[in-house]
């Protein structure tokens, strides 16, 4: 008698399904990845050992470019509207309702308050940090950041939004500008803020490194 026939099966697996999954995931990740925001302001941040991720909601971001210009951006449209009203009332920016609508849409602000009206008419392709004057924060007398911060704090208080101040400075920005911005924070009673940095490893052999090795949490930085 003949041996029973063993059906010869193909060893190849159908890859179509796997390919579908792979590309589905790929398109998902590409679509959910956030495009780099506010590229109009070029800032190269320094690095620090802090591993805390910067907050992303209700953020008031103050950027300092390398030539010492100060820019301001907010993400909450309600707060922005309130800020526009505050600036109108306290600093005489004389913004019309149409201007306030433009203010709400604007990604960032970077002019003296007196030029704010014309700034809101600037076409989007001219909104680059090197073409704009920035918010003046030259010395204690000419520090419009104080006015801005007051308006922002008042706006956050009235809308009930949480205030998260982020400071994003360029490596080459000079200290006096930084100091004036901090002074503005202090004057509006904002003593907590965060500085945006790039993550960096803790150098080996230092006290913080030993702390981490012992498994302690970083209390000094969290306080």
């Amino acid at each position: 008698m003949s041996r029973p026939k063993i059906a010869r099966k193909s060893t190849a697996v159908d890859m179509t399904a796997m390919c579908d999954v792979a590309f589905l995931l790929l398109s998902f990740f590409i679509l959910t990845a956030k495009p780099k925001s506010s590229e109009n302001i070029t800032v190269e941040t320094p690095s620090s050992v802090s591993s805390k991720v910067a907050p992303e909601k209700d953020v008031t971001l103050v950027s300092i470019t390398k030539d010492g210009k100060v820019f301001l951006s907010m993400d909450n449209p309600e707060v922005k509207e309130e800020v526009a009203n505050q600036i109108n009332a306290n600093n005489g920016a004389s913004l019309s309702p149409a201007d306030i609508a433009a203010f709400k849409k604007a990604e960032f602000f970077g002019t003296p308050i007196s030029q704010l009206k014309s700034f809101l008419q600037v076409p989007a392709d001219r909104l680059k940090s090197d073409l704009l004057p920035g918010i003046p924060a030259i010395d204690t007398l000419h520090n419009e950041m104080v006015d801005w911060m007051k308006a922002i704090v008042a706006a956050h208080a009235s809308t009930g939004a949480k205030i998260n101040i982020l400071l994003k400075g360029d490596n080459l920005a000079k200290y006096p500008t930084f100091k004036n911005v901090i002074t503005a924070f202090k004057k509006s009673e904002q003593f907590k803020f965060q500085m945006v940095t790039n993550a960096e490893g803790v150098p080996e052999g230092t006290d913080l490194w030993r702390k981490y090795m012992r498994g302690e949490t970083n209390t000094a930085a969290e306080e």
């Binding site: 010869r8 193909s10 060893t11 190849a12 159908d14 890859m15 179509t16 796997m18 390919c19 792979a22 590309f23 995931l25 790929l26 990740f29 590409i30 990845a33 780099k36 320094p46 620090s48 050992v49 802090s50 591993s51 805390k52 991720v53 910067a54 300092i64 982020l166 400075g169 490596n171 080459l172 920005a173 000079k174 200290y175 006096p176 500008t177 930084f178 100091k179 901090i182 202090k186 003593f191 907590k192 803020f193 965060q194 500085m195 945006v196 940095t197 790039n198 993550a199 960096e200 803790v202 150098p203 230092t206 006290d207 913080l208 702390k211 970083n218 000094a220 930085a221 969290e222 306080e223």
Partner: protein, 180 residues
């Protein structure tokens, strides 16, 4: 690879001289495409998580004019770091002596050793580091030095405005070539 021809030899005989028409498989091998897909996924995942910026917290003290509310620092435990041009760091311990006799130069890279030495030689509760950035110092210097405080686990430090005398001293040393 996706489809192996296993039907070899099983075709019908069409008689002598008739050539067997080769049946080409319409299936395409998708393995390299899957490889590529997953490679791209890995690439995107890595690049998106790495560019996530971190934030360093800083709490400012309230400015107070009343002397009784100000924090007193022991002279023996104080280390003052002055930030100058081009990542130069100058430092002195305690009070600045006349003619700047205890005024020493260093750089941002070597400052960690100075901080560590001071930390080791001072009782924990007395140690205070005073950071005084000059007009010429950059934002990076300030962040770096604040980062040094975290790295070396210094709990008491202060960011203070530079005085005129110190500012002059830093300026002169900077123009004379800075740290040796």
């Amino acid at each position: 690879m996706a489809e192996m021809d296993t039907s070899g030899g099983g075709g019908h005989k069409k008689g002598p001289g008739v050539k067997k028409a080769k049946k080409a498989s319409t299936r395409v091998d998708l393995t390299p495409m899957v490889d590529l897909g997953f490679l791209l996924i890995t690439f995107f995942i890595f690049t998106t998580t790495i560019s996530q910026p971190t934030a360093m917290k800083l709490f400012l003290p309230k400015d107070t004019d009343k002397p009784e509310e100000q924090n007193k620092a022991k002279e023996s435990g104080a280390l003052t770091l002055l930030l100058g041009k081009n990542n130069n760091v100058y430092y002195y311990e305690g009070q600045l002596a006349e003619q700047g006799a205890n005024f020493q130069s260093s750089t941002m890279k070597k400052v960690r050793d100075i901080i560590i030495n001071k930390k080791r030689s001072t009782p924990k509760d007395d140690l205070v580091i005073v950071i005084k950035p000059s007009e010429e110092s950059t934002y990076k210097d300030v962040v770096d030095i604040l980062d040094e405080m975290t790295i070396n686990d210094i709990t008491r430090y202060a960011l203070v405005d530079i005085s005129d005398v110190e500012g002059q001293l830093v300026k002169i040393t900077d123009t004379n070539g800075g740290a040796k």
